[in-house]
Amino acid sequence: MDIVWMGALLALWVVVAAMVVGLNRLEGPNPPKSSSNGDAS
């Protein structure tokens, strides 16, 4: 049983560690692409 619950703890830890990696890549919206034709609207 110890392996099961320690595995659960490790899984929970991996989730939050993955958040660190994921949120590091979280950025604002991509800057609008420059277009020589201008916006349609």
Partner: protein, 602 residues
Amino acid sequence: MTASAWGLLALFLAALAVLAWPVGKFLAALCNERVPRWMQRVEAPLYKLAGTAPERSMNWRTYALALLAFNLVGAVAVYALQRLQGVLPLNPAGMGAVSADSAFNTAVSFVSNTNWQGYAGESTMSYLTQMLGLTVQNFFSAATGIAVAFALVRGFARRGDGAGSKGLVGNFWADITRVTLWVLVPLSFVLAVFFVGQGVIQNFDAYKDVATVETTAFQQPKNGADGQPLKDEKGAPVMEDATTKTQTLAMGPVASQEAIKMIGTNGGGFFNANSAHPYENPTALSNLLQMIAIFLIPAALCFTFGHVVGDMRQGWAVLAAMTVMFVVAVMVITPAEQGGNPLFASLGVDQMSSALQSGGNMEGKEVRFGIDASALFAAITTAASCGAVNAMHDSLTPLGGMVPMVLMQLGEVVFGGVGSGLYGMLIFAMLAVFIAGLMIGRTPEYLGKKIEVREMKLISIAILVTPILVLAGTAVAVIAGAGKAGIANPGAHGFSEILYALTSAANNNGSAFAGLSANTPFYNGLLALAMWLGRFAMIVPVLAIAGSLAAKKRLPVTSGTLPTHGPLFVSLLIGTVLLVGLLNYVPALALGPIVEHLVLWK
């Protein structure tokens, strides 16, 4: 509210303000990394041993990974201690190994500063486990929360140079060392000595069997052949009569755990009855000091915030918003309990307050404390994410019980946990300036830092984590057979018990409607999941925000800047907390305590 209830509240707030100011100033010095030379000399061997240097500031990712690694090691250590306590010393009562699922729940609970207890301390834990496992984590989990608050406050205070800045937020190892060594340990030592003076026990004696003055008749739940409590066809527990002429008095090193339990807003009691036990909370004075200790660091951190960002008015504004919401909560819970139970009134029971009795709803309350001190304690312990109790919350009136639940559901930002209360409230403050920015058509900024798309995404994650855990967890528990099996009171109150448990776990409070039988593999697993993610899935985006803010330039105040220190902003902040924090839960509250109230007073 009676005059005595107002008087107690006023005394509490006045004493808190006087004590929190110097603590906040000292915490500001630590946050600014201005440590006297002699303290540096004491710390130096610890840093050398750890292979780090306090001046080596970290970016938010390194800070977060260090924090997560530190807490993982803590959880494994607490788990191992519980499983091995049967063969370890300081175990005069001969406690065996804690079951694997309960040990897992408790390890996560104490590491996450929740201190939810599915077990009864005096019948489960050895002295070594209580001291080396639970008390140590009381210090470290509290220090972790303060460290995260430090990182976020530094994010506001630092003057980054824009895109090229590394967004450094401090050194996690230095923060946790300094907070533990120079704040938590000294405060806890002083408070523990005071508690011993009041009668809290501190010893390693074996439990004592004493003869009672008279034979005591009582009822106890009848267990089946499988050791589980039997239930009748209505789901109510089957009881059997019993008598006893002796009583076993549990002993132990209580005062040393009691002090940090309050100072660190941990809340895990040495005994099952927590601060309702006379060995944990013997006198009215110890009760008052316990209440002040719970709010001391959360209130002090508001002053720290003001000091570090260089504008004390900002700290006062956050403190004012917290205080207004707290006082309103006390003004609801105290009359609700003083009003008593209408079903008793129809039986002719005198529930009026008089010189001889507290009056009101005294079920589950200590006669030593009465209505006023019990209701105030309940509001304090759930406004802060402490979870210690001096009365049984399951026995509060429906409206009285809803107040602690709502205070937790606001996200534990009304003073909140040590560190977590401040960083939670600052998340709401940023959301408030964003909403204000939308209304007046300006880019939102708080303390000179622009709140942009990345920050708003992170704020959204931080705010949504706990409601999702609470509501989804409650839904799973009321659907699953294993979840329904733990309900002691079928009906609306049973739903309230489950909602309270998930609310308490995901918001890292730890108090309980104790009618729920939660020491089962199902609840131990579900609540551990809620506690872990409610703590660390919130901390990670908060640290990301800290890093993002630290990298930003600090803009000068102009005539177009939204003032964030006046009554208007305080009102906006309170409105944001109530609307965003509370609206998620209104349907669930309607199914639990609101239905109970309407049924009781129909």
